[in-house]
Amino acid sequence: MTTLALVLLRRGGRLRPVVVAATTAVVTSLVLVVVAVLMLPADPDELLFNVVQEPGLRYGTVLGMSLLVVPLLLLLHQALRLGNASRQRRLAGLRIAGVTAREARLLGAGEVAVPALVGSLLGIVGFGVLRSVLGGGADGGPSLVVGDYGYSVALVPTSVTPTWWMVTSVVAGVTALGVLLGLRTGSGVSDPPHGVSRRSAARAPRPWGACVLVALVLLTVPAAVVPPVAYALFVDGFGTLALVAVTVLAFVSTGPWAAHLAGRVAQDRASTVPVLLAARRLVVDPRPAGRAGAAVGGVGLVAGGVGVLLGDVVGSGGADFFFVFSYVLVALGLLVTLLLVSLTLAVHSVETLTDRRRSMASLHALGVPATDVRRSQQWEGYLVAVPMSLVGTLLGAWTVGGTAVVDPAAGPAPLVLTLACVVLTPVLAACAVRLAVALTGPVARRVVDPEHLRTA
Amino acid sequence: MSTAHVLLGVLAGGPAHGYDLKREHDARLPGAKPLAYGQVYATLARLERDGQVEVAATEGGSGPERTVYAISEVGEEVLLDWLATPEQPGPYAAEELVRKTVTALRLHRDARPFLAAQRALHLERMRALVAEQRAAPDVEARIALDHTIVHLDADLRWLDDAAARVADEGNALR
């Protein structure tokens, strides 16, 4: 059984274990940083950047760091689906050879558990590296000098260290999460081999999430007028948290519907092959792209909100180092998230293309240029990422700023910065899609290889 | 003898004279060997002797061409009986193809040129049959042709298998 597991591990291709290990490593490092921040006493024995140093700001920082885990988990989830079809065939073959359903499940879990564990352990090392690079200390650790002043930009506490059992539980937790996700995506591998093939499209997603979002927007109108409502939603900690939670859920369930809608709209107008292919992929299987779209929408939401706040700060002349660096951190986080999410999308489309390599190769043989296949990946990304980021940014700007953005008393800065965010976020999302598709380019090029045309 | 039964089948559709019988027989079994006139009249004579057909009318002068035959009650019984009875499968007589190939191989002669030439000839015939089938007006004719085509295909496959086995043998010896 162990030998078999090792053989399987080696047959499964390298990309999947590498991505699984990389994502679990980064997740573990991040969670350990969060744990360390949470362990800090109200008055730490070291100098850190304000968002970590000051207890009042700390929880927002923790929330932000935790949100960074979301795109990583999306990527992990997508990576786990890599090669699912061939793994399914392989395990089905083993089932015929006498492996029980339970053993097949165990083997499948083992394929994920090993790289996930290795990744989590590497995450501890990553945490150590972060501590030494971004760690605080009596002298404030790394700092930036602006004018006559040096500011600490340390983000990782060094005066407190997670205990061994905390580290162990984080490692165990992340590994378990990986295995659970693996079992979920791989469910069905223990089914009999030649069952019903996947036929027509799954049921179209419902627009409930979008309805909730619209309701939320409508809710902000009285909120702007009626102070108690505004207070309950935006100032009271619990109300805000509930609002954020509802918004996130609404976005997550809007994603697939929006992807499906974008696909339908595009397919009815498609006059080129890449657009047609991309649109049909979205219509037939909107969920993976929808999840990524939701994350991009989330990025837009934050970007829009932050844009308005930045406008406020600049407009009121309060832009000191603390604010600027905080916004730089947020912007960095958003950019990384965008790239991760686009990578998710690209990994998904590579997986889809690999699944369909015979038909792709035959399209190529019929005269579809190989670049059209790549372009279809880009379009799939654009169709989801651009509208979602646009809607997200507008929504974020509206929720945070409302009509204050166009208040003549505040001067042009809020409006300009908000508009800049509204334009920039979709553009950046599109760039991230391009970059991600370029990163997966070699795989996409292989799917049109005439080798796949051979009979038997 | 089933030629007799096919003729009885034609007569079951209505009286006919010998010439019509031959034409209808050949039309019903395209791809098979056409029936000779002599055989038609010999068969009719035998059927008349056994009481399975009767002379319905004699048109104009005398001679077999002028005699119109009809099926009798006995004939109908024989026909229905034949239609309901399954046939013995085989045994097949060794065909000329097999005789020739085996004899050549026994003499250690290379049978492949013969096999290839034969394949070309068979495929030529297959092409003609397929063309005929594509032009055939009705499903009965296509079904009748199917039989010939499938048999020809069996021969062709035998030719291919034989060529492959001879080639294998040659490779093994080298």
């Binding site: 397919q267 006059s271 047609l276 292919l277 579809v368 | 040129p113 297959m126």
Partner: protein
Amino acid sequence: MTSTDGSGATALLRAHALHKSFGRTEALRGASVEVAAGEVVALTGPSGSGKSTLLLCLAGVLRPEAGSVAYDGSRLDDLPEATRTRLRRREFGLVLQFGQLVPELSAVQNVMVPLLLERHGRAAARTAALAWLDRLGAAGLADALPGDLSGGESQRVAMARALVTGPSVVFADEPTGSLDRVSGEDVMEVLVSTAQSTGAAVVLVTHDNRVAAYADREVVLRDGAVDDPAVVR
């Protein structure tokens, strides 16, 4: 009918002494074949004899290592990939045994693909694609996804996709390979009669003698070269 041996100046497609290896497997060792305009040629031979490889070389999909492929008098094997791709799109159609339709695209969208590449408008492409589906007796399947089609239906759609640009040559690699005899006959009938009416040549790989009999001429491959019975090995 053009000259049946496809020789002389009338040859539309001419492959000469092709060699093609995959790793250490020599799939083609000097195969030569000529196809005249409007001619139906069957490539037959045992498994692994190089039929599919020869077909893909003729269609400009694979590049032989030695030898030449000429279409309409000019070589296509040394054209750059992009030019060959465009040539395939305009002049050739391809039908495989199975699995060639894009599963997300409906039948009619699959047929529209080659037209969209040639920048026909969406509406025009759809009209033409529907007309071809109708012509191949698959009009009722226009909006079905490939996963919902039977083998014979898929092949009809695939043929519509191969024929929709009015190609000069249609290549078919075991187009009836996963069909029963009667469905296979239907598919062949449609393929050959449509090709005849549009004047397209057909190059056909098959294991089935009946299918080979739809061709005007048979080319037998053995060990990567055209089998010549006169040569005793």
